[in-house]
C-alpha cells in the first residue's frame, strides 16, 4: 500500500498517441475497497488509463503507483488483476479452463494452489460450461466472463475492468457484482459507459479529462 493509504495513486497522468493527447493530467487515488467508475464515451481515454495502471502502456507524463510500486514493475503487476480487451486475449484452441490454468500457473508458485483457485472461480462465477468449451467456440459474453475470472486469479488488490458488463446477460452481471462484493478489500477501477455500472460504484471520474 502507498504511504498515503491508497492502493492506487495516479498523479498528473497524460498519454499521447502521436499528436493526439488522449488523457491529460489525470490525478486519482483509490483506497482499498473503493470502486471507481471511469465514465465516458468510446475513445475518451478510459481504457488507456487502465492500460497505464496494468503496465502495458507507459504514460507520456506523470506517474502511476500500485501499492507503492511503479505500475508495470513486477511487484505492481502481482497486485493487479486486469480484464482489458477480452475478445483477443485467450488462446482460442484451448478450453476456458486450460486457459485459466495457464494464467494461474504464472500467478501461483504452487500448481495445486493455482488449480484450486481456478476451480473455485469457475464455481463462484458459475462458468463450468464456459470453462469446458474451447474458446474459439465461445460467444463474446462467454469470453468476457472468462476474462473476469482471469482478472480475479491471485486475489488481486487492484482490479481493472474494462467495460466488464458490456456483453453480459443479467445473470452474469449479477454474478460479476456478487464476486466484487465478496472482495471488499479490493480496489476496483471500472471503465464503463453504462448507468447500471455507475450506480454500483462509489465514485465517478468523467472522461475525457
Amino acid at each position: 500500500m502507498g504511504s498515503n493509504g491508497n492502493l492506487l495513486s495516479i498523479e498528473g497522468l497524460s498519454r499521447r498517441f502521436g499528436a493526439k493527447e488522449v488523457v491529460r493530467s489525470l490525478d486519482l487515488s483509490v483506497a482499498p475497497g473503493q470502486r471507481v467508475a471511469l465514465w465516458g464515451p468510446n475513445g475518451s481515454g478510459k481504457s488507456t488509463v487502465l492500460r497505464c495502471v496494468a503496465g502495458t502502456l507507459t504514460p507520456s507524463a506523470g506517474s502511476v503507483h500500485v501499492g507503492g510500486h511503479l505500475a508495470g514493475e513486477l511487484a505492481a503487476r502481482r497486485l493487479v488483476g486486469a480484464s482489458l480487451a477480452q475478445e483477443r486475449s485467450f488462446y482460442l484452441r484451448l478450453s476456458g479452463r486450460t486457459n485459466l490454468l495457464f494464467f494461474a500457473r504464472i500467478r501461483y508458485d504452487d500448481r495445486r494452489e493455482g488449480s484450486r483457485a481456478v476451480d473455485g472461480l469457475i464455481e463462484e462465477l458459475e462458468i463450468a460450461d464456459i470453462a469446458a468449451t474451447r474458446v474459439d467456440r465461445c460467444s463474446t459474453g462467454m469470453v468476457q466472463q472468462l476474462g473476469i475470472a482471469r482478472a480475479l486469479l491471485g486475489d488481486p488488490s487492484v482490479l481493472l475492468l474494462d467495460e466488464p458488463t458490456r456483453s453480459l446477460d443479467a445473470d452474469a452481471r449479477g454474478r460479476l457484482w456478487g464476486a466484487l462484493g465478496r472482495r471488499p478489500h479490493a480496489a476496483a477501477l471500472i471503465a464503463t459507459h453504462l448507468d447500471e455500472d455507475l450506480n454500483l460504484c462509489d465514485e465517478r471520474v468523467s472522461f475525457p479529462v
Binding site: 498517441f17 507507459t58 508495470g72 502481482r78 494464467f103
Partner: protein, 275 residues
Amino acid sequence: MTSAFPFPFSVPRLGVIVALVRRDYLVQRSYRLVFALDLFYGVVNLLVFYFISKTFDETTADLNGAPSYFAFASIGIAITIVLQAASGGLAHRIREEQLTGTLEALTAQPITVSELAFGLASFQFGFGMLRAAFYLLLSGLFFGVGYENADWVGFVTVLLASGAALASIGVILGALVLVLKRGEILTGAVTFAMGLVSGAFFPVAVLPSWLQAIGSIMPTRFAYDGLRSAIFEGGGWGGDALALIVFAVIGLPIGVLCFNRGLLQSRRAGTISQY
C-alpha cells in the same frame, strides 16, 4: 514516468517455463495435421539431398569427417532445424502472440523478462530437438548414414551449447519482432544466411574467402563443425563447444537486455496490443 520490467536479469521460475511449454504443446497438438506435414516435409528434404548426393557421387571437399556428401548434408538438415528453432523460435512465438492478441494479456501478468523470453522459446527448441533426432534416426535406418564412431556425449554437449549460443541471437530477434512487428522476414533471412556461411548444406571450402571469413566467426559454424566432429569422428568437438559456451555467456545477457528494451519500447509506443 513508469518503468516496466526495470530489472531483466532474474532466474526464471521453472513452473512458469513449464506452463508456457505445456501451453505451446497443447496449441500445437490441436493442429494434428501440421505434425504429420512437418515430418513429411523433413523426409522429402532428406530425399532431395539423398538424390543430389547420388547425382554428384564423389567429392574432394573436406566434409568434416563425414563419409559422404549425404551424410554431411543430413546432419546439416537435422541440426539446422534445432538451430533455426533456437534462433528464430522466440521471434515466431512473439509474432503469434501479437497476431492472436494474447501478448498484452501475457505481459500484464507477473512474469519476468527472462521467463517470457525463455518460456516462449523453449517449446520450439525442444520440438526442434525431437525433429532433429527423428531425421538422424531416419538417415541411419533408411539412408545408410553410419554413426558407429559417434561420441553421443559430445554430440549432446555441443547441441546444448549451440542452442544456448543461438538462443542469444533468438532473444535479440524476438526483441526486433516486438518493435518492428513484421520482423519474421528479417529473422528468416538472418538464420538462413548464418546457415549459408557456416556449412549447413555444403562445405565452407567451396565459398569465396571473404564469405569463409564471415562464417568463421558465426556461432553456427562452431555448431556444425562440432556436431559433425562428434558424430563422425568421435572427438575434436571440445574447442567448438567452448567457443559456443563463451558466445552464450556473453550473448544471453545482451539478448535479455535487448528483449527488455523491446518491451519497454512497445509500451512507450503503445503498440503491445497491435500487430
